[in-house]
Point group: C2
Chain length 373, copies 2
């Protein structure tokens, strides 16, 4: 076990400082390690995955094999057959196989340093809080939860336990997105004025948890629209002041509980306006473009697991070498834990998105512009 | 002079019928004449241009030379030096040179069949009504006027005079836009779900009439956003039901009277949602993309005088041979007049855009979704 880290206070000042520190400490391309703690050379942090769905199976577990500072050390699953398959495939000891009833016992397992929560959105708080109470650091998939209140409970639980909480915003570690952040912040094309961003896909199986509001908290906004929201926030470096939004549903059977498509507009303090779209009904909306005083730039695709590429109005392409996003994210979290410095994507970042998404749904519901305080 | 044509009633039923007729009678590519009235073989309609600014000088007058059924037959200008220059360049007779005080006398000039109004937006009604009262057909640039009331006055005046009124929606005659309409209406990629459209540019001279609300009626929405609005209407073939909109201004000196940037969302009866942007502060926003159940298509650039090109999600390009938009528009109007059939872009079409734009400004002002009746 690692010693406790200083608590991360969620004030705006510290928040900005954290973001700046993070930007400074992450290389824009490639992935170079920083000095590890001399006391533990070569040590890898043990990760336990909670929820063994498609994301864990096809992205996160394979990515763990690509990390430098992490290893798969345990699993939590409600499906015994999955437990058996994973245990064999990844050579996990019996003591590191948990279900949702036994995961409290993580506290007794020194092989596990970090719990990675990959369950449906509305279970994130429960699993994060259990992990924190077991003394583990937590990496939690986006969206952080389904309400600001539950996000705050997660932050509080991790703070109380003296453990770090990071949200799975893997694009913060993706070189082409980072290049766009650089183009924006360094005003390479002048100050930003308008951002167009969107992410959607045509959803398949109508029985999946993403379409059940009690588990998902919402539709495409919570699932993929959040990437477009994140993009507007990391490109501008600002928080939205005003939100207006509209949603539509044409298939009322499939989308009985969550929206089918949703568009929203965010006005930022500097006057930048973002015009965003998300949907579960069509493919092809998968990028962003930022329009600045003297030109534009953007990525399309911007958010997927691989294949980021972009254009600039001066004819240059944005095509930095790909990294394994999940590996980069987990290695970064491990480094932050090793070096006792705050993650650049803390719970407060997830909470902030939840607040904006809550405002978006409020605007849809009321038909009014919502002011964020 | 041509005989009076049947009055065009602005009911919704006739309106739809008119649009359908127009779509049926216009070829999708190329420009093939229909049978002219046997009584007047080879006759060209005489056009008088009202307002000799950049659009008349650089687009419309040259385009008249490319028409089959039209010719420049007169001018109305408040600037004697321009009158002299144009008269010499286009070999116009003295009797066909007018200023804004003398344009009533158009009634006495049988050489002039059509008056093309190219003055600032807020003068369109005055000049259209004068032309109608002089017994001329009128082609009026977009936006039709600065209020629905003034649009209605124009429609009424032309109806009373028994003359046609067309609005300068040149893209209705542009093959690549027409191809997108075909892809939408024939559901080549399935039913439309989401449209993203925008048009903007970085405005230069801060003293131009476009930035004076009394003359323009509004900012980029009235000037170029109207193209994105039109695109959402001709792609869907529907009228927006709900509008929400947000505007921002960062340069309060330059944009003291009109908005700098504006985004709006329109929900259509079938559930299609359109997410649109317009601006006077950045370049590069100049196209649309329509996302349908099984794919997407769109143009970028979509609205400029030349250079339309497009992509489809199946990898095909949209690149139909270019036409002179202004020539095509004027020839179409001439054919409609010759054949005594209604223009596909009547005053009612311009009024409809004004109603939507009025709702957009109302939504900006109130911060509320506006319902269109």
């Amino acid at each position: 076990m690692l010693p406790e880290m200083p608590l991360l206070h969620a004030t705006r000042r510290n928040f900005l400082k954290t973001a700046t520190m993070a930007a400074a400490c992450l290389p824009l391309a490639g992935w170079l390690p920083r000095t590890l703690r001399a006391a533990e050379p070569g040590r890898k942090l043990g990760f336990a995955l909670v929820g063994l769905g498609s994301l864990s199976t096809h992205q996160i577990a394979p990515a763990l094999l690509n990390t430098r500072y992490c290893r798969l050390a345990g699993i939590v699953t409600g499906t015994p057959a999955k437990a058996k398959r994973w245990q064999a495939q990844y050579n996990l000891p019996d003591k590191s196989i948990y279900n949702y009833e036994t995961m409290d016992r993580l506290a007794d397992n020194p092989d596990i340093d970090v719990v990675y929560v990959v369950t449906p959105n509305a279970l994130h708080a429960e699993h994060t809080i259990k992990a924190a109470q077991a003394g583990k650091h937590v990496l939690c998939e986006k969206p952080m939860e389904v309400s600001s209140e539950k996000c705050q409970q997660m932050i509080d639980a991790c703070r109380k336990a003296g453990r770090q909480l990071a949200i799975g915003y893997r694009l913060h570690f993706e070189p082409n997105n980072r290049e766009c952040v650089r183009l924006a912040r360094e005003k390479v094309f002048g100050g930003l004025k308008i951002i167009q961003a969107g992410f959607g896909f045509k959803i398949g199986d109508a029985r999946q948890w993403r379409l059940r509001k009690a588990l998902s908290g919402g539709g495409p906004l919570m699932d993929v629209g959040i990437y477009a929201l994140q993009a507007t926030r990391y490109l501008t470096g600002e928080e939205p002041l005003l939100i207006s939004a509209t949603s539509t549903t044409t298939d009322h059977l499939k989308f009985a509980e969550v929206e089918e498509s949703l568009v929203w507009q965010a006005t930022f303090p500097s006057g930048i306006i973002a015009n965003c779209s998300t949907t579960y009904s069509v493919g092809g909306i998968k990028g962003y473009r930022a329009y600045a005083e003297n030109g534009w730039f953007g990525l399309d695709p911007a958010y997927e697991y691989t294949g980021q590429k972009g254009l600039r109005s001066d004819g240059q392409t944005i095509a930095l070498p790909p990294v394994d996003h999940f590996a980069a994210q987990m290695d970064n979290f491990a480094q932050c834990i090793f070096e006792n410095r705050p993650t650049p994507v803390p719970g407060e970042e997830g909470l902030r998105d939840l607040r904006v998404m809550t405002a978006i749904y409020e605007s849809v519901r009321t038909g009014k512009t919502v002011k964020l305080g």
